[in-house]
Subunit: 78 residues, 2 copies
Amino acid sequence: MKTKAQFYHAGCPVCVAAEQSVAEALDPARFDVEIVHLGETTDRLPEAESAGVKSVPALVINGQPFHINHGADLSALK
Amino acid sequence: MKTKAQFYHAGCPVCVAAEQSVAEALDPARFDVEIVHLGETTDRLPEAESAGVKSVPALVINGQPFHINHGADLSALK
């Protein structure tokens, strides 16, 4: 069974770079990566927050948050 | 030909988590990931700095730096 991962972003340039270089680099044989645009789907903000996401872009693997560089704080998306 | 990537760390807990979850998640069919302990091999600090690395853990893919969470500033390793 593949490991679930979520890549949270807000369409910012820093986010796009992280998506193209890091999120898309994950091994597709082992990971199911869901790309979530938190600026467009604000109803997913609580889910991201409860995983510990503080800013975007962020990659959550197995429920563990990894902030990749810094595009915007989650509070700026509300 | 595989894309070269460097994962720079300093053995800190934040670094270990990022290594195990992110660096090791990269697709081995597409990436050659080198793990570099900057605390032990300080002679590689200039190389990391010139790639734009400011703190560890950081993943450099194709020369582009991605800081993953925050363990320590590079200046603390000198």
